[in-house]
């Protein structure tokens, strides 16, 4: 089963180190460490006392710990975060509470300790290997809903670097995959 989505119900308490997996949705209590390769969805009733790492983190509950994402962190109304928030893109909705250091952009993202499945899911934005070389290339292309930055709008083609408009500060290095001419044709033909 390709979809390893995890749902932690409201009445569940976990005191552990949680790693791997795809999408992770939590409505209960988690204490320890959370490193996932997919999207982390923290429900309203969730209480987390752990550092959270994922590709994308959406928070509606309470977290005491650092958040670190490869793509984006979204704090919705009802989110209560005490800890650092680091991601290329951070959105804090009206009503969300944050206390900690917030940093957008890729700088300073700690190396991920995710399980090897995370490497299979997506190469990290900065070190994107030339797709021709790496075996994950066809898989990465298939999962391409999120080439480096904006996950919502594919538009994989254009220069992704230009899309990331950061107001001042250090801009991340433009993440332009080095694709040879004809790679797309080769890939679609291969599949």
């Amino acid at each position: 089963m390709a979809n390893g989505a995890t749902v932690i119900g409201r009445e569940t308490r976990i005191r552990a180190r949680v790693t791997g997996g795809q999408d992770f949705e939590i409505h209960g209590h988690l204490e320890g460490e959370l490193t996932v390769g997919g999207e982390v969805n923290v429900g309203e009733t969730a209480t987390i006392a752990a550092d959270v790492r994922g590709r994308r983190i959406v928070v509606r509950g309470a977290i005491k710990g650092d958040l670190s994402a490869d793509e984006a962190i979204v704090l919705e109304e009802g989110a209560r975060v005490v800890g650092d928030v680091r991601a290329p893109r951070v959105a804090i909705a009206q009503g969300a509470l944050v206390r900690g250091y917030v940093e957008t952009g890729n700088a300073g993202e700690a190396p991920r300790k995710a399980a090897s499945t995370a490497a299979r899911v997506l190469p990290t934005p900065i070190h994107r290997p030339a797709p021709a070389a790496a075996k994950p290339a066809p898989k990465a292309a298939a999962k391409a809903p999120a080439p480096p930055p904006p996950p919502s709008k594919p538009a994989a083609k254009g220069k992704p670097g230009a899309r990331m408009s950061l107001a001042g500060g250090k801009a991340p290095p433009p993440v332009v995959p080095s694709l040879k001419k004809g790679t797309k044709a080769a890939l679609t033909k291969k599949r």
């Binding site: 089963m1 390893g4 409201r10 569940t12 552990a16 790693t19 992770f24």
Partner: protein, 104 residues
């Protein structure tokens, strides 16, 4: 009532205490205590003592199983550990090594 699903690629190293149903498709190392039913799907690996009510095991469990209701080992289950339950079913094709105590 909602249930907790531990997804296929997830590894939990520690303790899980649930007051609801638990479906395990991934890996748990440590301890699993559920108040309701526990379903261990094929492909799941549990290296922990498991406590719950009704249990259905189709995956791999290395650890003691304690149930307040019944335990069903499905074909393909591999269980190494003691089972304490008032009712037990071991299907043809299930691997089991351990004691069975039905005197609960």
């Amino acid at each position: 009532m909602a249930s907790t699903v531990i997804g296929a690629n997830l590894t939990i190293e520690g303790e899980v205490i649930a007051d609801e149903d638990v479906v395990v498709q991934g890996t748990i190392r440590g301890k699993l205590t559920a108040k309701d039913s526990v379903v261990v799907e094929s492909g799941a690996v549990i290296e922990a003592d498991v406590t719950g009510a009704a249990m259905s095991v189709a995956g791999q469990v290395t650890g003691n199983i304690t149930s307040s209701d019944r335990v069903e080992l499905q074909p393909g289950a591999r269980v190494v550990g003691n089972v304490k339950a008032s009712r037990i079913t071991i299907a043809d094709g299930a691997h089991f090594k351990g004691n069975v105590d039905m005197d609960v």
